[in-house]
Subunit: 274 residues, 2 copies
Amino acid sequence: MEVEAKLALGDCSEELRKLDENSVDLIVTSPPYADQRKNTYGGIHPDKYVEWFLPISEELLRVLKPTGTFILNIKERVVSGERHTYVIELILEMKKQGWLWTEEFIWHKKNSYPGKWPNRFRDSWERLLQFNKNRKFKMLQEAVMVPMGDWANSRLSNLSETDKLRDESKVGSGFGKNISNWLNRDKAYPTNVLHMATECNNKDHSAAFPETLPEWFIKLFTEEEDWVLDPFMGSGTTIQVAQRMRRNSIGIEIQEDYYNMVAEKMRAKELFLL
Amino acid sequence: MEVEAKLALGDCSEELRKLDENSVDLIVTSPPYADQRKNTYGGIHPDKYVEWFLPISEELLRVLKPTGTFILNIKERVVSGERHTYVIELILEMKKQGWLWTEEFIWHKKNSYPGKWPNRFRDSWERLLQFNKNRKFKMLQEAVMVPMGDWANSRLSNLSETDKLRDESKVGSGFGKNISNWLNRDKAYPTNVLHMATECNNKDHSAAFPETLPEWFIKLFTEEEDWVLDPFMGSGTTIQVAQRMRRNSIGIEIQEDYYNMVAEKMRAKELFLL
DNA sequence: GTTCCGCATGAATCGATAG
DNA sequence: ACTATCGATTCATGCGGAA
């Protein structure tokens, strides 16, 4: 059976109303951050961010299945030398809407944005907030388990030389990654810290969302022919990964050029498959 | 000049009142987590955590120098399948007290506590919240610089994987020593994600606080003969590291047996030095 | 075919400058 | 004074061309 991929052009707070309630198994999205991406999106002021997002999360709560999961990728920016509080305020407000704040994964971005400031280091992590409707939800932990040997090998080969060197300098720097700890195990469940680099080679768009990120959550929270939704589709990474993994998908995008770009790519993919 | 180490036995909300205002350069502490250490501290109910902590943070704000920094190691526990919100509520309330929420470091615990649950992976990170009194504060970034990537790539790419592994298992031996010779050549600033293993060998204290953690922040935020405070001293890791690094230190502990243990260890250290 | 080097490019942030 | 824009800073990554 062929899986579907539905695309919608428009504001997601409106487009989401057209979806049936309790119809989506997984929402994975990375909304525009406050005052970021001003050139492509309008840019939302940090002080207005919560009130901007709440109507959307209200609709997401409606369309999600009771056993479904919502993964929200977000990070607060620095305003006047301080971390702004709109993200943690958003968590509190979403709980009032009825969401359960089940978990917070950390996305450790190894290649964070460069820069130097007198009172701050480079920001190399983002939040992956997990919300659910019920305490019981679908979770397929085995799908993201990796045989230990392979995992260790791939991790070792993926580790940059910098990581290795920094591990070795643990006496001076205090950082250590004890890879040798894992050598005697067969299998391992992952933890709630994900190590993935951003993709900075994609010139088509500004989003740096690596495919492995939605892929991991799609594996973990859905089965084949389940429904995956991204209300801020952007360049369509999540939707395309979902289709490749034989999940039905829905993408909503307000920018026409992004929408057209994804629509074209998806069509090309279907043709290729036939 | 000899550095001092002052210890106080008692409730820190009271003992802190005896300290002069604007007298401490760095506060590093890991307060008892909510309900986590019932047997040693009695445990604070998650719903009462914020109101329990606020009088203490009020005093900490008073004793900290205007250029000083407060590092709070904390993580919310899971209650009824959800992450509890006392940590993020605490951030909002401390801001009302006048604290600036400058940054949130991630402590990535490589060897996190084992376990398996149907709807949750192992928790392998904790928050290291940085608070300040002013936008300008003392920060010595050069003290925590780490070796740089390109240098490692060009120098180490010829080594076999086994060589690298073997050398990693030795702490500070082998060519780790050579690397330290090059530290002045090419160094990079760290990021706000810290990779440190917990210490499993410390049976005396219920909290696993590795020495490298306070050491890193003491390097970053203080110079020799500055004052370091830990209002929840526990087994005294922070205080002892501070003394070893020639910083003056103040430790407060409510449990008499912990207090005695640390007092004895510190005395032994002083005797050894003389 | 490999490996190696040079290069562009980011969900950044601060401080100075301009309206 | 308060906000908006701009230049300077910085490093992991993956690509293309070269040895």
